[in-house]
């Protein structure tokens, strides 16, 4: 089976779904069997954040990979991967609200207002919500492809907020090695888009002919 065929296989989507769920399954299993170290609350909160960023990178990589490798089949997975970003962001926010703040809404609100790094993370979560809410086909139809696409470009801003949130969180310890890795990956993925955008602006006719498939 060629890779392109494998990607189009009816079970391919289910497989990606299961794979994307594995970190979550591990976290639940680890929490129940006391395998998350001395501070499981901290582990869960941080793991939620880590997996949010990882799925954000994977999701943002779909379009560049599709264009660069000429595998349009990759597009099938983009929506699901995007929804997994939201899934892990919600997990991250819920574990913070629950394990760190004891679901005390007043405490959470105070924390968001007082601490820039939490505000930035929370803003990312809020902005991501309408994207998740409009991820089904009917929403695209109802909004019109253009407006839908405009809305979903918010993900670029959200990626920036996510990196800033992570950067600020690590700033106190001057411990940026991991932050830089995520920032570099995201910069690369957004840089590619910027480059495409500039090319299209300069040579609209040529791009249209050569690369008709990757309009988004």
């Amino acid at each position: 089976m060629t890779p392109a065929k494998a990607l189009m296989h009816p079970r391919a989507k289910s497989l990606v779904f299961v794979l994307a769920l594995l970190p979550f399954v591990w976290l639940i299993y680890g929490a129940l069997t006391d395998r998350l170290g001395a501070n499981p609350a901290e582990y869960l909160i941080r793991a939620g954040g880590d997996w949010s960023l990882r799925f954000l990178c994977i999701t943002l990589a779909v379009t560049p990979l599709r264009a660069l490798t000429g595998t349009p089949a990759l597009a099938r997975f983009r929506r699901m991967l995007g929804l997994f970003v939201y899934f892990y962001v919600v997990l991250h926010f819920l574990s913070y609200s629950w394990f760190d703040r004891g679901f005390d809404l007043g405490e959470i609100a105070k924390d968001i207002a007082k601490r820039p790094f939490i505000l930035v993370g929370f803003a990312g979560f809020v902005l991501l919500s309408p994207l998740a809410a409009t991820s089904f086909n009917a929403a695209v139809k109802k909004m019109g492809a253009r407006r839908w696409q405009m809305l979903h470009k918010l993900v670029y801003l959200i990626a920036g907020l996510g990196i800033l949130h992570f950067f600020w969180m690590r700033a106190g310890k001057n411990d940026f090695a991991e932050v830089f890795v995520y920032a570099a990956v995201i910069a690369l993925l957004l840089g590619w888009r910027l480059q495409q955008f500039l090319k299209r602006k300069r040579l609209p006719s040529m791009i249209g002919r050569r690369n008709g498939l990757s309009k988004q």
Partner: protein, 332 residues
């Protein structure tokens, strides 16, 4: 500060040595209580504390270092002692990596013998002490302290050691010595993360002289009845129970007496987040999180609400007077 030495004449007591009126009054009350015969009942409770006091089980991993239960006020909390496994697998010791599981994994390379601690600066008796001599300088005591990390978690650790004051008295600081600086090991050959840009190496901490002389300030050589494991700061470290954990330097190689307030490692890295004093204070938040509550490792379950953090980590009765009149919001 006046330190008693053999060649001193008459010395006035330091203000910290004068019994505060409240405590004096309590003693009077105790005498009255005895006179009325009610002491039997009252003392039963006191004796009971000792009887109920938890025996700390030796984990059996390292060489034994027994210590007699300390008689210093506030030195033995009755709270449940943290599991040895948690206390030795969840550590901040950046010389071995920034993840809390790193020190347990990487610190086996630390060489703790031979080990010396140099006493320098404004003292009459500068000297480099071999660890063997330091161990014998005073009787080893067991002290069960709360440990509150600036990151918002806490443990209860049975340390073994003696009051740093014992060493300070031996080395006889000069009158001009206002601060004590603790310089810790920074050997890139045995500590893989020395040289990382997270902090300035070596890791340096410091105390004001009266803080260093406080009987609760512990020079520690062991925990859980055994010598310190490497990740906990072997072979000798400081433990200042009313301050955030990072004030308690690990694997100390030099103690320097100075007249000026030394710049400390975290203060150099982020002065707005880590002050010189860094006393545990639920009313002064860290810029990035609240310090009002904490999670007790191994005890507060995942879904339990975090417990309230106590002023001076619950040692206010013992150390509050050191900071009388100071604005603790400014001197965080």
């Amino acid at each position: 500060m006046l330190i008693k030495t053999d060649n001193n004449g008459y010395i006035h007591p330091a203000s910290s040595e004068i019994t505060p009126h409240g405590i004096y009054q309590q003693r009077r009350d105790l005498i009255k209580l005895m006179a009325t015969g009610a002491a039997g009942a009252a003392l039963a409770g006191w004796a009971g504390r000792d009887a109920m006091a938890q025996a700390v089980a030796r984990p059996g991993k390292l060489a034994a270092l027994p210590g007699a239960r300390s008689a210093v006020l506030g030195a033995v909390t009755m709270e449940k002692v943290t599991d040895y496994k948690d206390a030795t697998s969840y550590n901040n010791f950046y010389e071995f990596g920034t993840d809390k599981s790193d020190p347990a994994k990487n610190s086996h390379t630390l060489v703790t013998r031979p080990w010396t601690v140099a006493i320098e600066g404004l003292v009459r008796q500068p000297k480099t002490w071999a660890i063997e001599d330091l161990l014998k300088l005073s009787a080893q005591e067991e002290r069960i302290y709360r440990l509150r990390c600036v990151e918002g978690w806490s443990m209860v650790i049975p340390w073994v050691g003696y009051s740093l004051a014992e060493l300070i008295k031996k080395v006889a600081p000069l009158g001009s010595a206002n601060y004590v600086e603790f310089i810790t090991q920074a050997d890139p050959k045995t500590m893989p993360f020395v040289g990382s840009r997270v902090l300035d190496w070596p890791y340096v901490e410091a105390l004001r002289m009266d803080e260093a002389m406080h009987p609760l300030t512990l020079l520690s050589f062991g925990m859980y009845g055994e010598v310190l494991p490497n990740q906990s700061g072997a072979p000798v470290r400081l433990v200042v129970p009313w301050k955030y954990g990072f004030k308690s330097g690990k694997s100390i190689v030099k103690i320097r007496f100075t007249d000026k307030e030394p710049r400390t490692a975290w203060n150099k890295a982020a002065a707005n987040e880590y002050g010189f004093y860094s006393n545990v204070n639920p009313n002064v938040d860290h810029p990035r999180w609240s310090q009002a509550s904490e999670r007790r490792i191994g005890e507060d379950g995942l879904f339990a609400k975090k417990r309230k953090t106590l002023m001076f980590n619950g040692y206010e009765a013992q150390v509050g007077q050191l900071y009388a009149g100071m604005d603790l919001k400014k001197n965080y």
